[in-house]
Amino acid sequence: MNKKVIFSILVLFAFTSTFAQKGDKKLDRSIRPKAAEAPGIKLGDIQSFVLPNGLKVFVVENHKQATVAYSIALDIKPSLEKDAVGTANMTSELMTSGTKNRTKDQLDNDIDFIGATLTANPKGLYAASLKKQQTKLLELMSDVLLNPNFKQEELEKVKTQTLSGLAQQKDDPDAISENVKSVLNFGANHPYGELTTEESVSKISIEKCNAYYQAYFRPNVAYMAIVGDVTLAEVKPLIEKYFGAWQKADVVSTNYPMPLAPEKTRVAVVNKAGAVQSVINVTYPVDLKLNSEDAIKAKVMNTILGAGFSSRLFVNLREKHGYTYGSYSSLNNDELVSEFSAYAKVRNAVTDSSLTEIMAELNRLRTEKVPQDELDGIKNYLTGNFAISLEDPATIARFAINIELYKLPKDYYANYLKNLAAVTSDDVYAMAQKYIRPDNATILVVGDKEELSKKLAPFSATKNIEFYDIYGNVVASVAKPIPAGVTSKTVINDYVNAIGGATALLKVKDVSTKMNTKLQGMDISITTSQKAPNKYAMSVKMGEMVIQKEVYDGKVGKQQSMQGKKDIDGDGLDDIKAQATMNLEMNYEKLGYKLNLKGIEAVNGKDAYILEVVSPKGKKSTEWYAVESKLKVRNSQITTSEAGPMTNTTDFLEYKDVEGVKFPSIIAISGAMSMKLTAETITVNKGISDTEFTIK
């Protein structure tokens, strides 16, 4: 009913208006509407006051909805965390894990009861709720801030969660890329280059957390922003009540040397075997602060290159070539050090083509001036974005705090649009000369090493690729030269002697090893038996249940699992035959294996010879023999699975002497999944029956 009335009034109105507007019935749709007169953009009002303890408070009134948000930002430059990286994060986690007045359960319940949000981070706090709950909210926020109770029990919980989080990151190519990027750009001696690891987590203590809290959570380095359905007059007494007792103290600020961009462009690869996409970053550290004269001009320059949907990177890599879902660049403004990065996530096959296009776009910005219409479009875009950002009242509060934090002129934001409008094509050109440095970049690619290595070398100034692990540590750097006199034959002979010598080895008629591990909380044991000359059996038990068994009786290979029994054939049969051969290494030559000594590289911190082993059927694997101990320390093989090629690596971490022969007693397997196995028993010449090597 109501709808109908509105409708008929409308039709009438619409009629007259089209008439009035045109006179001519046919609309020419090719005429693009012109913008109406530009609306005035006004910044909201900010009020402020300071508590005697130094806490500076900004209030932005916004009465659209009956909500309010309180945030505290600390203006601090903490010292390095060194061996206990993650301390600051855990400190803030612990602050919301119970206070001297409330257990964790009580605190959690009190926050949820009023439907509020209350979180802490290493540089501040945030709390929000409906306005009608704000007294309770402030009581809770104040309790968290002033009376944290750092308890060992809670620290242990946070550590467990953090370790699980670290485990998750190992499979997330973006997380790996972010981590390694910060190490390569900033280095371990800069706070931004410090990474939380399993090891660093183990070093974090209650004392360290408490020390961080005492050192940095101080009112004299804090700014509070209040945004919402409140007035200054009404909140001031509340702030005095709840935060007046916050004790001030001297806060030490640490300065760091400015990290430098690489002298020449290098290529760094983090291997993610089986990845279906490569994560590319062309990146380097930059000295660019928000209070620099360059800041606005550089922002325009970066927006042209890679921010927004019609930026050059996006249009080129996505709309022109279809290489990616999105390609972007970023250039931030940070007080300590900023970072430039051009990013794309692309399918493996076009990794090099994508890099070619990214580098071409960087160079174009440095060699050609930006056309006026493109520049005007970008300036309009940034102007519009500025207006859109004002929709959120928190933006105004952020402006106020930025002016304090970054020592900006008081009228910085009031003049922002004027300064933006004044940026010229020459300015952009100058900014590109200064901040776009394709010849001083780290090209970081997280992806499948096997697919990438050769294609990427041309992008490196030295034509070498550096390989890193997921924490940004160098792995398998360029192989060192092989000393004179060392050949594949001597490496194998040395190994045979190191594990006991040919005579002792030939005395071994059978051997059985039981190794244990835990997998997803379940006990797993793996028993392997071998009988000269070529019988082999392996069974995997979960608890008391055999979940998998493989045997080879010298002729036939069989496999039994939950899915049933089957014969092993093809590649699998060749593999198990090799496994079954007693003292295989000693017999490589006799059996027709080809050995290529490739060089020396470090395995788990110790130099080892790299030996490529090619089976008579042409299957390749790689083995590493330690230069010093002569023992085999690693082997690796590439296998093909549904997810694509995958590298499986076994590290032999410790050997144990049984009857004059050394057998691996601790091994670590990595690849599709990781586990560490420890030998419970190793028995030699116990007379294993032939029936052990068959499945009926």
Partner: protein, 445 residues
């Protein structure tokens, strides 16, 4: 934790044009609006707010993945990409540039039930936004280069979302296992294999069927003059012809489940996950509100039952929670648990089941109920500060419930839910027969 955001964003959106953020908002302060329909069937909703000089121009087409041919899954989402290709008067590659040069932002997303496009512009560019949306509603133009390029782009998007993201396939697997006949059995991403197969004629047919004014809602919010805006809408939209084809809507009803479905998915992950998908009532029904509040009790906030018991006390998971997926036809409530290091999925599942048993057998306390109502109220009121969210909510309420005013009143439906309703919902829906259980395990040889 990053995982949380992956799961939640995957849930809310299905898939989107340019990694969009969805805003789930519901207000309490009255949102005033007017609405009417053009003779060609275009539904128009206008909300006037002068606090910031910007305007959100949005168009909702009532077509999503559930309207697709099972042999062409992913079509609606792929078509969303094609809608940026241009029109008779907008050249290929110009669409995004025009918005950007006008100082605006834009994006689009596709769900099971609808496809949504928006531009946020300085308010003096309102007419540009209206013209652009009318251009692609009237005469979209797709050339073969554009088609081929978007085929590649969408394949990369799917890889990025599903394959190269740990747990990225959860949504596909959950819906794939839960439905046998209803088109929710595939997700908006669909299968990449079909993207190559579709011919140009199929796209044209899809466009003429679904992208018509009588299947669209134009919702505008912001710094507008209502009379002038109506005149502009008349100018650009009144001549767009009404669609002549019948708009197919699936009528098939998923049969009631009689047995639990269990399966294992191997993924590139380190921590095993337990994913449960419970069949749940369609949005807007009384049971839907009860289930929604049940999910809040289970997982919103650190004191919620699953978080407190499973994550905090028992340390069995890094993350545990329940989320209803809002959908036009009866949908799913998804429950996730990601195991802590060294915890087996069976242990985690037992802990999750124990929480469900508790809520089925014991009525929640008055105090917990009050907390739940406070949380619900807070969520409702905290929304709707932004124009784009208001425009989208108005359109959603109007299309799904034929009542845009729910933007102001839906909270009443939540407040009607009693403690007993919640217990009943748990007993009715959180049953073994009604669910799918998936174990996500690390890939191994």
């Amino acid at each position: 934790m990053k995982l949380k955001s992956i799961i939640v964003s995957g849930l809310l959106l299905g898939s989107s044009y340019l990694s969009a953020q969805s805003s789930k908002t519901t207000p309490s302060n009255t949102v005033k609006y007017s609405q009417y329909e053009l003779p060609n069937g275009l539904h128009v909703i206008l909300h006037e707010d002068h606090s910031t000089p910007i305007v959100a121009v949005t168009v909702l087409y009532h077509v999503g993945s559930k309207n697709e041919d099972p042999m062409r899954t992913g079509f609606a989402h792929f078509f969303e990409h094609l809608m940026f290709e241009g029109s008779d008067n907008i050249k290929r590659g110009e669409y995004m540039k025009l918005v950007q040069n006008a100082g605006g932002q834009m994006n689009a997303n596709t769900s099971f039930d609808r496809t949504f496009y928006y531009e946020i512009l300085p308010s003096n560019q309102l007419e540009l936004g209206l013209w652009m949306e009318s251009e692609r509603m009237l005469h979209l133009k797709i050339d073969s280069i554009g088609l081929e390029t978007q085929r590649k782009v969408v394949k990369e998007e799917l890889k990025q979302r599903n394959e190269n993201t740990p747990y990225g396939s959860i949504l596909n697997e959950a819906f794939g296992h839960a439905y046998t006949v209803h088109p929710y059995r595939w997700t908006p991403g669909g299968s990449p294999e079909y993207i190559n197969k579709a011919a140009m004629s199929e796209f044209i047919d899809f466009y003429k069927t679904f992208y018509v004014p009588n299947n669209a809602t134009l919702s505008i919010a912001g710094d507008i003059n209502v009379a002038q805006t109506k005149a502009m809408i008349e100018k650009y939209y009144s001549t767009i012809p009404k669609g002549t084809k019948a708009i197919p809507r699936p009528t098939v009803v998923e049969p009631v489940k009689t047995a639990e479905v269990r399966d294992t998915v191997y993924d590139n992950i380190q921590l095993p996950g337990v994913i449960m998908a419970y069949h749940a009532p369609a949005q807007g029904t009384p049971d839907y509100y009860a289930m929604n509040m049940l999910a809040t009790i289970l997982s919103q906030g650190k004191s919620s039952r699953m978080q407190k018991a499973i994550v905090d006390k028992q340390q069995k998971a890094v993350f545990a929670g329940a989320f209803p997926v809002p959908s036009e036809d009866p949908g799913l409530t998804l429950v996730f648990g990601i195991a802590n290091m060294g915890v087996s999925p069976t242990d985690l599942e037992a802990a999750m089941n124990a929480e469900f048993e508790k809520v089925k057998t014991e009525l929640i306390t008055e105090e917990e109920f009050q907390k739940l109502r406070n949380q619900t109220e807070n969520d409702f009121i905290s929304g709707n500060l932004k124009m784009a969210g208001i425009a989208e909510n108005l359109a959603n309420y109007s299309v799904y419930y034929k009542d845009a005013n729910l933007i102001n009143t839906e909270i009443d439906r939540f407040m009607k839910v009693t403690r007993e309703d919640i217990q009943k919902a748990a007993q009715k829906y959180l049953t073994k027969e009604n669910r799918v259980v998936l174990y996500y395990l690390p890939k191994q040889e």
